[in-house]
Symmetry: C2
Subunit: 340 residues, 2 copies
């Protein structure tokens, strides 16, 4: 198994990505990597980390990089030789089995659609993120790959999210909810109402509509929504979590007494941080693409990169896409039967 | 000035609403109230609080109440004599100047549209909530009144939100952002792109697109979105905040040592709770309705009810709706000129 790694994408690339790759290689077996990026620029770090002397490492040169603040469509068109495009091409041509990137999300979506194509029968990809519910992780998709969705897309997201939940979290028959503006069946937009009808007929554990607060109430295992709504929820939750840490810090540093208690309570704060961080899983898969793609946060630490690589290898081994295709065929057959 | 109060709506009604009303009457001057609800049911509490002997209190009987888990449209049609409908009718007929409710949101929206109508020229109402940004409050609208929006609706929300921000938070020229899936101008859906074009031409302090995390980054004063997206963001943020408090509690009660530090740090936790609570403003106005309507959280405490009543009286005194109408006329005139 070979994993193509976009070494140049992300806020702290290439350093953070290369360090994470080195960690992954020393922690896990069963795969090789192809480091894709500007080789002269990567050279000093590669040598320092001994990656050039590691038999499990290959290199592929890419002259350009899509910067985090560029427009993805423009960048992918203009930069044919960017690290993300070269990495996606390697997987598209069968020279690698999976792709890991912590770079520009839009560029990753565009490059993988163009160079790797979607799975047969899948119209649109979805980014599946893990949200921290009270006592479990909840899969939410789409978190931003497909902004304008049709009901059929959400129905496919339900199947893909359900498979991913089982493979990554070990949940045997994940329960699925549609993000709506209330949990009654009649709630929602034309999009969610259409998806409700479709998903009701499918061979998944469908619980109906949920609302935003239910993501964190241990109500369902998989939350389905369009990429605009999912992105708004994800970013808002990231935002308010940062604000909460800011207020906590302000409250605890107000006077020396409180500051002392804060220092005493460091372990508790560390646990809180771990609880809400996504580092354990390292990134979010781009589901529906013909090949395993893991997209990590732009600010990924080496540890997050290491885990993203582990997850990519794991999903290749578990043949996630074959399972998605089989379940989609089963669903389509059922949908056709019931609509006859 | 008379404020009609839906005494029966909400999780802890009528007790919490009546206690909050009694507090408001003893704290603030300049208005009378009409308590609307099932009078026999309210009687013991009314007498205990001395509301029946207060010359500033009138009563209006309503036989029914819309329960929190009912479908709003069905409930409003079937229950013509519900407390929310009777209260909205009082304002609609000019017998009261404002309405305060902590009951069913959908029922409040439907009842006020039907019984009070929207402001001339305003097509759809919006619920404006205050989100806790790092060091300020941000107005986000719509938080759930209008699920299917057109660009013109979002443009009107921008005007209404801007007036509300000035009146409630004292911000002279509030900056406005459109909730999108990235802050570049080209990002968004057909709806947000259409709204972008309209709001660019209007006499407001428009900053362009923002994304979810920017709500909490002190980037803008007013965030505009459709009611589906706004509701999803609001409920998700409420959900993750509750989860965070749960994790914090778990982390701090793990061992006796940590528990001791938690007790020592009580003041800090209290401040954190205050920071994120909406009690200070007591509720969210339903903007665009022909009359002042304040909708408080279903679980409002007496203190939240008291503040909702104070805010309602304040917005009547400041003639919010006249200011909204004037600004909308100015905007419409400008839009017509520039599109010629």
């Amino acid at each position: 198994m070979k994993i193509a790694i976009d070494a140049m994408g992300g806020d702290y690339a290439p350093l953070s990505v290369l360090e994470g790759t080195a960690e992954a290689l020393s922690c896990y077996d069963g795969f090789n990597v192809i480091l894709v990026g500007n080789l002269p620029e990567m050279k000093p770090i590669v040598e320092k980390l001994g990656l050039d002397r590691n038999p499990r490492v290959e290199f592929a040169h890419a002259e350009q990089v899509v910067k985090m603040d560029e427009s993805s469509v423009v960048a992918i068109r203009a930069k044919k030789d960017s690290s993300i495009t070269v990495a996606a091409t390697l997987v598209g041509k069968g020279k690698a089995d999976a792709l890991v990137t912590v770079g520009h999300t839009g560029a990753a979506v565009t490059a993988t659609i163009v160079r790797m194509r979607t799975l047969p029968g899948v119209e649109r990809p979805a980014i599946a993120v893990l949200m921290p519910s009270k006592d479990r992780k909840v899969v939410m998709l789409d978190a931003g790959a497909t902004v304008d969705c049709k009901p059929e897309h959400l129905a496919q997201f339900a199947v893909m999210g359900s498979i991913y939940s089982r493979l990554i979290l070990g949940i045997e028959n994940p329960s699925i909810g549609i993000m709506s503006n209330g949990d009654e069946d009649i709630k929602g937009t034309d999009l969610t109402k259409g998806a409700f009808k479709l998903i009701s007929k499918m061979p998944v554990n469908f619980m109906g509509n949920i609302e935003g607060s239910d993501i964190f109430n241990d109500v369902v295992d998989v939350v389905v929504c369009d990429g605009f709504v999912g992105n708004a929820i994800l970013k808002s939750c990231e935002g308010i979590s940062k604000s909460a840490m800011h207020w906590l810090k302000t409250a605890f540093t107000k006077n020396p007494f409180r500051l002392t208690t804060a220092i005493l309570a460091q372990g508790a704060f560390q646990e809180l941080k771990e609880m809400s961080s996504g580092e354990e899983y390292g990134g979010a898969p781009l589901l529906g693409i013909n090949g395993i793609v893991i997209k990590g946060h732009g600010s990924s630490s080496p540890r997050a990169v290491r885990n993203a690589i582990r997850v990519a290898a794991d999903l290749v081994t578990k043949r996630m896409n074959e399972q998605i295709l089989a379940k989609l065929q089963e669903s389509n057959a059922l949908l056709k039967t019931t609509t006859k």
